[in-house]
């Protein structure tokens, strides 16, 4: 829509101001709320179902029509889930991979973004363009070769294999570079005049100024560890020593014999979802800005 159209519209509006729309507005406002509540209900229903199922006994779970609130709240399902799926170990593995890979990834991202944002070197634009271009390639294409590579490195069933191949994210570098570019160049030049080294400037000025982006990256990275499934299944699924939470969850409830205790399964699912949920509740602002930033600047 061009600027001209708006000017015309605005002029038109100046001419006729309406005053009878109040009841209509209330009604439409009401229908908006109705729509939002309905959608919210649909969005939340699986969570609700997960939680109440996780509290039922197996017999009650199988009831048809189902109960929408457990007759008897069985918290023991959670204890069972924790032991059945060896969740303690899986949580620890996932946390470890998440924390270590986040820290290393942040360091690499900051250094690289700084180089692309502030330093001058030959072929900078070409290199950056080439990096951005690789974002188009589906990750599976890398997986095939990386799979052989890590086996060759002897990394099968180690934490290294879950951390190192994904330390560099072009997307995060891009995100942070954009952020660094917004910091006025004068600050950098002033620091140079003062004799502040590049590294000190990066650490003392740029990093603090980009904290929100860094926090967003941290959270996205942690969520990545929490949700990873395919890669760990390929390379670190021998036993629980290095297994990630999602693989463990999928494995623990696919035994070949016996009756699946669905409530316990749901309890396990709930347990897996809770940490992410808590992180989200406390760091909502950062997560949402991190995700949306990736959108708007795209």
């Amino acid at each position: 829509m061009s600027e001209n159209t708006f000017k015309v519209m605005k002029q038109k509006n100046m001419r006729r101001i309406s005053g009878f729309a109040e009841p209509m507005r209330v009604l439409s406002q009401l229908s908006i709320y109705l729509f939002l509540f309905l959608m919210a209900l649909i969005v939340l229903f699986p969570f609700y179902w997960m939680v109440i199922s996780s509290l039922k006994s197996l017999a009650e779970y199988k009831l048809s029509p189902p109960t929408f609130w457990p007759k008897q709240v069985l918290l023991s399902n959670y204890a069972d889930a924790f032991t059945t799926a060896n969740l303690g170990r899986l949580f620890w593995n996932t946390m470890y991979v998440g924390v270590v890979s986040t820290i290393l990834s942040l360091i690499i991202t900051v250094l690289t973004a700084f180089a692309f944002a502030r330093l001058e070197f030959k072929g900078k634009e070409t290199l950056f363009g080439a990096l951005l271009a690789t974002m188009m390639i589906p990750g599976e294409l890398f997986t095939i070769t990386n799979y052989s590579t890590v086996i060759k490195f002897g990394w099968l069933d180690t934490f290294t294999v879950l951390i190192v191949p994904f330390l560099v994210s072009i997307f995060y570098i891009y995100l942070l570079r954009q952020n660094f570019l917004q910091i006025p160049n004068e600050l950098y030049l002033a620091a140079k005049v003062d004799g502040t080294g590049d590294f000190k400037y990066l650490w003392k000025v740029m990093v603090p100024l980009s904290l929100p982006t860094l926090i967003s990256i941290t959270i996205l990275k942690m969520m990545g560890a929490w949700n990873s499934y395919i890669w760990p299944r390929l390379v670190a699924n021998k036993d629980d020593t290095h297994r990630m939470i999602t693989n463990g969850l999928r494995n623990a409830f696919t035994e070949t014999t016996g009756d699946v205790n669905y409530p316990v399964q749901m309890a396990a699912v709930a347990l897996v979802s809770i940490p992410l949920f808590l992180v989200f509740v406390f760091l909502r602002k950062y997560i949402m800005s991190g995700v949306s930033r990736s959108g708007i600047k795209g």
Binding site: I151, K152, G154, L156, V235, D239, T257, G258, V260
Partner: protein
Amino acid sequence: MKKLVSMLLVLAMMLCVAGVSVAEEAAVPAYDGSEVTITFYHTMGSNLTTVLDAYIAEFNAIYPNIKIEYTSVGGYDDVRDQISKEIPEGIQPNIAYCYPDHVALYNLAKAVQTLDAYIDSEAVVTRADGTTEIMGLTAEQKADFIEGYYNEGREFGDGLMYTMPLSKSTEVLYYNKTFFDANNIAVPTTWAELEEVCKKIIEIDYYSIPLGYDSEANWFITMTEQYNTPYTSATAPHFLFDNAENKAFIKMFRDWYQEGYLTTQSLYGAYTSGLFTSTGDIKSYMSIGSSAGATYQRPAKNADGTYPFEVGIATIPQVDANNKKVISQGPSLCIFKKANPQEVAASWLFVKYLTTTVEFQAEFSMASGYVPVIKSVAENEIYADFIANADGGDFVSALSAKVCLEQQDAYYTSPAFNGSSTARDQVGALMTKCFTIPDGSDVDGLIDAAFADAIAECEYAVGW
């Protein structure tokens, strides 16, 4: 461009140089007492690793320098997937649980050690206490193996021995003995009898699905054995199951399924053992499943410590009750080639120990419900006691073992080749696919198409 491609090719190959050295096996060396660490992949749960731990300790009393490290790697398929990742880099374990088709896969890389030279070796090994034994199997040890199980190790087309049997299971028919007795129903021995029993059960309890079958794949393969119709062949053409006889039995069972006589795990949407042990409104009165899973087929105890019903166990229904056929399952052990011949020799000694030690075989069987592979276990006092105590409640595992031991000559195996597991998956899916063909559609035509599709999938899988 050509130059580039060939350069890349060379580069790729250089990076992929394999780690497994193919050692020629003329005379095998005896274990010389050197320190070695043996890795062992299995699928045991904690109930079985306790048994294993105890016998590793015993083994180490004899050979203190052989360190055994084991890993429980999920299920059988997980063991296969894990090892096939490790073989190209030479980091595979020394010993692994295996099924014949796994060995066929590993053999693509020629990674499995053939055992004939070890079995026949007369070389003398000195134990920690100064006594000696020969590397190989003594004549008594060889004769002690149940012949059928032992011979499974050499069914890979070249007559060489690749695996040693560890423990065996089969499929058995679990039935609700309390219900059968109360209604004066005889346990079916043939499929024809089964049909009548199903009809009878439905008359008594309309809201029941009389029979639950755990594994569609086992069912199909067992039927081809019972009818003696083609299934697969170890030599090309491999996939022979598309024939009129097989279609005929599938069509018959489809009809039974449609009548509600039976269901299977994937058709039912939940485990059939759960349906069998259910005390709710909808249940089954018969269940065909692994003999090693007997405890899953037993209902949960009532509050007063009694069982809601007694479980009976019998041989699965047959086409011809005088020529019984039941599937032979359960893990074998294979040994992988390694650069250090002492590692291989030590692995062999451990495998020999596990498969020929009566006490281990007995305890392993009692803890798991799998049956032993050597005959002398039956003479073991503790084991004889265990079998004598068999009942349909607390000692249901013993009952299952007892039934298995009684039908030992009915066991069959199917050919193992690269692609045999695909055939297995495909015929399993074929059963469910055909069963769900609704009434009123072109049943024969759709069954034909389903068979053709399954064959195509199999052929594709071995396409290279």
